[in-house]
């Protein structure tokens, strides 16, 4: 597809190489993200460097960089050594006119990401542009660089499956004047973005700039269909949050505003590009097709799993909370050590040292050491901790479910419990049966606990029979979930039910109402963005349980098709992502 690359080059690599040339030619494109470590990536970087003007800055950002080094400030160590203030330029300022490379971008701290994003925005206004290159080594789709940065680079190139390297000579890219983009072209790009469910306007601006630059590099005065397709493929497709409606099936599903042909008094469509489509083919449909074909497989998977929104958040998912003891260091704050809070020695020294000339003028306290500390100097450490998961089992113990396979369900739960025990997560148990107000309803049998034996005992003693107040069960799950979240933990719900509700939220009997209430409760749970699994325990999978799972944005798993081990694996999959590699407190 790409005119610039010779035939044997892997298409993904060819696209990435082209993207590198485009950003070198047009710094307004912001930069690019390169996924997947390997020789292909080195190749792209090589080409990018060669395409830049000689001597352009080329800086790598260490992940542990501090604020002063990033944004500039007083170099305290050098200042103390020299006895006069020594200023250092920030890395961001040094990168102006060149490239800032962020290795391990998927692990970049959000505060650093925020600084870089701000510098990029300011650069736009002050002509201090630099290109941002994010090196993304994340293995999974939900471990991506911070969204604030992905949003600000035009290209997101996936090199993880590249197996052939290009034999291309690096060459300097001339600063090309961008080609002219017609209103039809703009319409087509905007329509494609809409069809792919891209909410942000930035990708559209990037796509337009990419198409213009591509035309400019190719020496065309006007943007052609090939340039538009390139922009759709490289800029829009990786950001898709939904699949475009099938163009061949029905083009009326598109927003109904295709501009009438000939509406535009601007120059005629160009005839120079040989890949110009026949005038009757709507360029927008071709673009959407090009974009659809280029949606990366993991984005497709996420769309299929309905997780596009969550994944689009970037930053690796998983909730975070500040902790005093464990996790990734968050930096120091003024405060007193003690009560589990640790002193940050270096930061305390940094705070105290500038004051030394002043403090030496004051009469010394008896026993004062070479460095005079005050209470105000003390800094304490804070860490960010991944939150622990609490698995909440919600068991439908009604007659219909009990007759079915409550015993088997219990077996499955025990296996999951064993796993929870290994991972030191907590469990809770909710059961619902009978009519609320008549000795039945939903009940929290076991508040969150780590005690496996207790959980087993409660589960074993769980009686079955009665009506199915599904809505009450889900509502109680929601409350329990809220309480768990309030304690800084992440709830994971495992519903074991056949989905056949027959008691409504207010206790009245009747299937339609009951089902409606249950679905409403499920949607509320989904709105709270809780992770959940619905395990269908009816002998034959029923549409009700599947609908329930859908309303809850939960994984659906029919028990007849899964033995207890498969269940366990499914629950492990649905659990909120958790990263390994916690660092102990220093």
């Amino acid at each position: 597809m790409t005119a610039a690359a010779p035939a044997p080059t892997d298409p993904a690599l060819a696209d990435a190489l082209l993207a590198a040339r485009l950003v070198a030619a047009e710094p307004r494109l912001g930069g690019l993200c390169l996924r997947g470590e390997g020789p292909a990536r080195s190749r792209v970087l090589e080409i990018l460097r060669a395409a830049l003007p000689a001597g352009a800055p080329w800086r790598r950002l260490p992940g542990h960089i501090d604020d002063d080094r990033l944004c500039g400030g007083t170099d305290i160590a050098a200042s103390l050594a020299a006895g006069i203030p020594v200023h250092q330029r920030g890395l961001l300022a040094e990168a102006v006119g060149g490239v800032l490379i962020v290795p391990l971008a998927e692990r970049l701290r959000i505060d650093i990401a925020g600084r870089i994003a701000q510098a990029l925005d300011q650069a736009e206004a002050e002509n201090g542009r630099f290109l941002l290159v994010l090196l993304d080594d994340g293995a999974e789709g939900d471990e991506r660089p911070p969204a604030a940065l992905l949003e600000r680079v035009a290209f997101d190139c996936d090199l993880r499956r590249v197996c052939r390297l290009a034999e291309e000579a690096p060459l300097a890219a001339p600063r090309a004047v961008g080609g002219w983009l017609s209103d039809d072209g703009l319409d087509a790009l905007a329509g494609t973005g809409m069809a792919l469910g891209i909410a942000s306007v930035r990708p559209l601006l990037f796509a337009a700039a990419a198409a213009r630059t591509a035309a400019g590099i190719a020496g065309r005065a006007e943007v052609g269909q090939a340039d538009l397709e390139l922009a759709a493929r490289l800029v829009l497709a990786p950001r898709a949050t939904r699949l475009p409606p099938d163009a061949s099936a029905d083009e009326q599903t598109e927003p109904p505003e295709p501009p009438p042909p000939g509406d535009d008094p601007a120059p005629d469509p160009p005839g120079d590009a040989e890949d110009q489509p026949a005038p009757e083919a709507l360029p927008e449909d071709l673009l959407i097709e090009a974009a659809r074909a280029a949606i990366p497989p993991d984005v497709l998977e996420m769309i299929a799993a309905g997780r596009a929104l969550r994944a689009a958040r970037g930053g690796g998912g998983g909730r975070r909370t500040a902790s005093k003891l464990r996790g990734r260091p968050l930096g120091a704050r003024p405060g007193l050590p003690g009560g589990g809070v640790r002193l940050a020695l270096v930061d305390t020294l940094r705070a105290a040292i500038p004051w030394q000339p002043l403090r030496r003028r004051e009469p010394a306290m008896p026993g004062a050491g070479p460095i005079r500390f005050r209470r105000d100097d003390l800094r304490v450490r804070r860490f960010e901790e991944r939150t622990a998961t609490v698995t909440v089992f919600c068991v439908d113990a009604s007659g219909s479910a009990a007759i079915a396979r409550l015993a088997e369900a219990k077996g499955a739960v025990e296996l999951i419990l064993a796993q929870a025990y290994v991972k030191r997560t907590e469990v809770a148990l909710i059961a619902f049966r009978g009519t609320p107000g008549e000795g039945g309803g939903a009940e929290l049998l076991l508040p969150p606990t780590r005690s496996l034996t207790r959980a087993k005992r409660v589960l074993g003693a769980l009686p079955g029979g009665g009506g199915s107040p599904l809505a009450s069960g889900i509502a109680l799950a929601g409350q329990v979930g809220e309480a768990i979240a309030a304690r800084g933990r992440t709830p994971l719900f495992v519903f074991l039910t056949d989905g056949s509700a027959n008691i409504a939220a207010d206790g009245t009997r009747g299937r339609p109402r009951a089902l409606e209430d249950a679905l409403a409760a499920a949607r509320r749970l989904a709105a709270e963005r809780r992770h959940a699994v619905v395990i269908d325990i009816s002998p034959r999978p029923r549409p009700e349980a599947a609908r329930l799972a859908e309303a809850m944005h939960a994984r659906y798993l029919p028990l007849p098709f899964a033995d207890a081990r498969a269940l366990q694996a499914a629950v492990a999959l649905a659990a909120p992502p958790e990263r390994s590699g916690r660092r102990p407190a220093a």
């Binding site: 307004r28 604020d67 007083t74 200042s79 103390l80 006069i84 203030p85 959000i110 505060d111 650093i112 990401a113 925020g114 600084r115 994003a117 701000q118 925005d121 300011q122 736009e124 206004a125 002050e126 002509n127 969204a147 604030a148 949003e151 983009l181 209103d183 703009l186 319409d187 790009l189 905007a190 329509g191 973005g193 809409m194 909410a199 942000s200 306007v201 930035r202 559209l204 601006l205 337009a208 927003p255 505003e257 929104l309 958040r313 500040a322 930096g331 704050r333 003024p334 705070a351 500038p354 004051w355 000339p357 002043l358 003028r361 105000d376 929601g478 409403a520 509320r524 709105a527 963005r529």
Partner: protein, 333 residues
């Protein structure tokens, strides 16, 4: 490079309205903007700051003091002349430390001469202007507390590192964030005066228009600015007129009763909601050039002033905006 003109922003009427109300009455207590990335939140806020007429500042004053109020400066300040300066717009970075925000000991002076001098922070820089915080929901809680405190009191008091300084810090706080990426604590949310929900434009024509205007602005910022200068001027006059009318704006008792009824119907707790609603209605009426506040003004700003103060109702799935609209329809049909 010239900023994108305020009047050239496509759509986003609610956000623009909230910003104009804050410009007319900066005491409204800040604007919280909810919305996706890339919907022009920061562009609109920056554009408004660039649009406002320059302010007079004591020359070289590190606290941005106004010549009308010379004694407010904590000094040491030897400025005698006043100069014109554009309205400050400070973009607070996510990783900002307390030192950078509040101000701290001037390290350079401390090292060089051993003097204890206060170096003003971002709060001082934002005085009489705007303080914009993107992704405020990701900002550390203690910083948000601190910012809202200063925004409400209009004064920054520093008592740390052996320094004791107080200086004026009156600014319009604009926070933005995507609730899907993390919520702001309700007690913090309540302290913002207005809130706006920004959505990406749905119509293709709007999106194309955005692309066209951005391209035009990129290609020739000065020319683009000039083309929109007349429109911007109109908005400027509207703000100026609003500011002038605001102090004389009269609120009839009937409107006060309406406000109280609306607040109780929507279940807004506390007085803050009611007071902000009245303030916003006055500013809106002033912007519209009305002589006194009428019910229509009140209802127009009700979603802005109340939306973020509703208690979350687990039994009600509809958004808070819909709940306010329903209450309005029921009460004032």
């Amino acid at each position: 490079m010239a900023r994108f003109p305020f009047s050239a922003i496509v759509g986003q009427d609610e956000m623009k309205l909230a910003l104009l109300i804050a410009a007319v009455d900066p005491a409204i207590g800040g604007v919280m903007v909810f919305g996706d990335r890339g919907t022009g939140k920061s562009t609109a806020a920056r554009a408004l700051a660039a649009l406002l007429p320059p302010i007079m500042v004591m020359e070289g004053c590190r606290f941005g003091c106004s010549p009308d109020d010379p004694r407010a400066c904590p000094g040491p300040c030897e400025a005698t002349a006043a100069v014109r300066r554009s309205v400050p717009f400070v973009d607070l970075p996510l990783g900002a430390t307390e030192d950078r925000v509040l101000g701290s000991l001037d390290l350079e002076r401390a090292l060089r001469t051993g003097e204890k001098v206060f170096e003003p922070g971002l709060l001082a820089r934002a005085h009489r202007g705007f303080l914009y915080i993107d992704e405020i929901n990701l900002l550390e809680d203690h910083l948000v507390d601190l910012l809202l405190d200063v925004a409400a009191s209009g004064e920054n008091v520093v008592e740390r590192e052996g320094l004791s300084v107080r200086h004026r810090a009156r600014f319009v706080l604009i926070g933005s964030g995507n609730p899907e990426e993390g919520e702001l604590r309700p007690q913090l949310l309540d302290r913002f005066g207005l809130s706006v929900e920004v959505r990406t434009p749905r119509a293709i024509t709007d999106r194309v228009e955005i692309m066209r205007r951005c391209a035009a602005h990129d290609a020739d910022p000065a020319g683009f600015g000039a083309a929109w200068a007349a429109e911007d001027e109109k908005i400027l006059q509207q703000i100026a007129r609003g500011q002038k009318r605001l102090s004389k704006m009269d609120v009839p008792d009937a409107v006060l009763v309406d406000a109280a009824e609306l607040c109780s119907a929507t279940g807004v707790d506390g007085l803050r909601g009611e007071l902000t609603l009245m303030r916003a209605a006055r500013a809106y009426a002033a912007l519209k050039g009305a002589k006194q506040v009428r019910r229509e003004h009140l209802l127009a700003v009700a979603p802005l002033a109340l939306r973020h103060r509703l208690r979350r109702d687990v039994l009600d799935e509809s958004g808070s905006t819909a709940r306010i609209e329903r209450a309005i329809a029921e009460q004032f049909a």
